[in-house]
Chain length 185, copies 2
Amino acid sequence: VASPLMVSFCAGAIGPWWIDRIDPVFGESLPLAAKLSIRTDTPIAPVASVWNLSGVTSNTRYATRSEVDALVRKQEGLGRTQAICAALIPIRKSEAWWALAQDERRAIMEERSRHIGIGMDYLPAISRRLHHSREIGEPFDFLTWFEYAPEHAGDFEEMVDRLRATEEWKYVDREVDIRLLRTFD
Amino acid sequence: VASPLMVSFCAGAIGPWWIDRIDPVFGESLPLAAKLSIRTDTPIAPVASVWNLSGVTSNTRYATRSEVDALVRKQEGLGRTQAICAALIPIRKSEAWWALAQDERRAIMEERSRHIGIGMDYLPAISRRLHHSREIGEPFDFLTWFEYAPEHAGDFEEMVDRLRATEEWKYVDREVDIRLLRTFD
C-alpha cells in the first residue's frame, strides 16, 4: 500500500491532457481551460492556473477484503499507452450523507447502489484513481480520475449513467464532468 | 454534523494548557515544551512553537448507527469547567493496518478490540475529539484530545491501559502520551 499521495489537478495553458469539455452535472460548474496537468510534487509548487483541485489517495473506506482482492485481480494501472481518453469527475456529497454512520453509508453505497460492483463491471477497460478532498479544505469531497481507450468510450458513458441512477447519487450535491484527451506534443 | 474542522496543537511558550509531561509509548517522543495552545483559525497562522501537530475532524469511519446514537446520548462536549485535566495522544498505525480492507479493520477495532465500547465505558466522564492527520502530510495518523476532571484521572489511566492491551494496538507503531492541566491566568 502506497502512503497517501497528494495530487493536484491544474487546469490552465499547459499539461499533457487536452480538455475536451466541462459539463456541470449537479450545481456549479468549473471554468473552461485548455489543458490539464497532474502534479504530485510535494509540496505542490504554485503554478498559474484557471483552477486547481487537490486530493489525497488513501486507504479503502468501504471495500471488504473480498472486494479489494477482486478489484486488485481485475484492475490495471494508470498510464496505459492506449488509454488516451480520460475523465476527471469532482463530486461533493451532502451534509445528510456525512451525518450517516459507517454502516448506513456502506449499505447505501454497495448493498443498495452497487457502486463497487458497477465499477468492477468495467475493469480492466476503465482504470481509476480516487482522491479524497473533504478534509483538506477543498470545494469537492472526491476527485476521481479515469483513463480508458477510445473503443471503451461507450462503456464509460454507460458506467457513469448507471452510477448516477443509484440511491447513492441522491446524496451528490455538486458534480462536474471533465473529459480529456492525451496530447502527444 | 459540523464540516471538517482543522485543528492545530501548538506546543511552546504560550497557551491555556500547561504541559505536565510527555511520555513516549511506542517510537520517537516529542520534545518537551511549557504550554499548549489549540488553534482552529483558518488558515492556521504561523506561530513560534516547539512542535505543531494538525488534524481534521471528520465523519465516523467505523461506528454504526446504534453505536453513534449511544455515543451521542452519553457523551459530553469539550470545555467543561471541572475538566481541568487533558491528554493529547498522537498515534501512527503501521502500513499493515492501512493495507487491511474496511471489514478487516472494523473487525479488529470493534468486534475483537472493543475500541468504541471501551471509550463508551468512560462516558460522560472523559470527553474526547478525534482528529485525522494521515492525509495531510503529518507525522501521526490520529490526534485524540481528551478532557476530564481530576477525580476521573484513575479512570483515564484504566481506559488507556485497556486500549493499549487490545489487538488493535499491535498495529500502533508510534504513540506519544501528552498530559496537560488547564491554566487560569
